[in-house]
Symmetry: C2
Subunit: 256 residues, 2 copies
């Protein structure tokens, strides 16, 4: 299995601190050695850093850890290969364009006996069930909303319906963003926390590193972090509801 | 105007040396200060590094310069904005998926009175004429070959026809790769060189850096480099034929 990390904020924020702990799980403190990737939205644009090497040994991960890219929506993934060999084309997150926006997708789980009929609008490049699921998801959205992108609550409801259809094939924890909001779906494990004023000191579980967010933030900042497992050991992470797509906008969990 | 750099090789090769000279043109020795990007194919996968900062000041460019990513097909671009503001979504190269392969595109030129009708299969995310041209090009290919990717010579002929249709709108120098081969089109300036045994010492025009490729290569290596303007001052770069799509495979220019 893999691990997911997402961030959604009301102002562009860097993810250096959280990525430090997450990166350590890619081979150093955990078994996710089969590559990693991270996508940062900046406006409508997106930067995707992928590396089939373990994140704990990757020079690209070192860059990401030290170069504060400020973003309102981030999706990251570290991989333990199940379907598909280790290779760049099988490294999450995946990117496609739909309705003139980039969409970023990462998945944790394993889908069995899953062979959706694809119409050719989106086709997988690699061999993972995850990329196949992403293509299927985007095809479903395009077919359902041929006039273009619907409002985000409509979109969230469509994703919920889609997740329920795919669910019987196996664990389908995923993160999806178009740069405006972050959709996350929990099948097995997924936790979140919202950091906002009054800010406190947070201490990583996976490395002896602490950050005092009072020194780094302004009073109006609001940052939601979503991760397979809690990243810090002195904050309260909340499990997300099972089998549910949850939407985060401007650093806030939205009502269903 | 912008500058283009492409590499096509018979075995995975790093582009550190050539990128060093190319990077300097992004703000240090030249005026291309409005961002840069580079895409590396590794098998079917691709890594795209984008930065809206000038490449001569970019930490991401420093990473690319020092971390030898070995690739058989590379496309790089430094930008002087004409259409579209400076921003990540307007930074080349652009990526889309067609027929289950990633396609990478970068453009140097300016297309005027250019408003192709798009069917929604590929839509621009940013505001550049270049990304619009890429979407138009992929749509044309998908419509023309609905059964999937044709052979590369058929593809090259279709690209030639397409380039002739777009040509009247303005300079349409471009590079396009799917990881198998590299297609380049010259409207105004485009030069190439093939390095193969016996290898020699090459010296950059834009920085006082020389490399002895004898020390870095094996006798069977063959590397084609294609650039808007020659990158070295002690080798003979050949201008490509005007208004022609040229295909490079395994480090060799293919017969038309």
């Amino acid at each position: 299995m893999c691990e997911l990390l997402g961030m959604n904020c009301n102002i562009p924020t860097d993810i250096c601190f959280s990525f430090t702990g997450f990166q350590a799980r890619g081979g150093a403190t955990d078994v996710h050695r089969d590559g990693w990737g991270i996508a940062f939205f900046e406006g409508r644009g997106v930067r995707v850093f992928l590396d089939p090497q373990p994140s704990s040994e990757s020079p690209v991960a070192e860059l990401v850890r030290h170069y504060p890219i400020r973003s309102t929506n981030v999706v990251a993934h570290i991989r333990k290969a199940t379907h598909g060999s280790v290779g760049l084309e099988n490294t999450h997150p995946f990117m496609r364009e739909l309705w003139g926006r980039y969409w970023i997708f990462a998945h944790n789980g394993r889908l069995d006996a899953y062979a959706p009929a694809l119409d050719g609008g989106f086709l997988p490049v690699g061999q993972t069930d995850s990329e196949l699921a992403f293509c299927h998801l985007l095809q479903t959205l395009r077919q359902r909303f041929p006039q273009g992108e619907p409002g985000r609550f409509t979109l969230c409801a469509a994703l919920q319906e889609h997740a329920e259809e795919v669910g019987p094939h196996g664990p389908f924890n995923f993160m999806l963003s178009n740069g405006n909001c972050l959709f996350v779906h929990r099948s097995t494990e997924l936790h979140y926390i919202v950091r906002q004023a009054p800010f406190a000191v947070a201490h990583l579980k996976d490395q002896d590193v602490a950050v005092d967010f009072n020194e780094l933030t302004s009073p109006d900042d609001r940052v939601a972090l979503i991760a397979t497992l809690p990243l810090t050991d002195n904050e309260t992470w909340t499990p997300l509801p099972l089998h549910t797509v949850t939407m985060f906008v401007d650093g806030e969990r939205q009502p269903a």
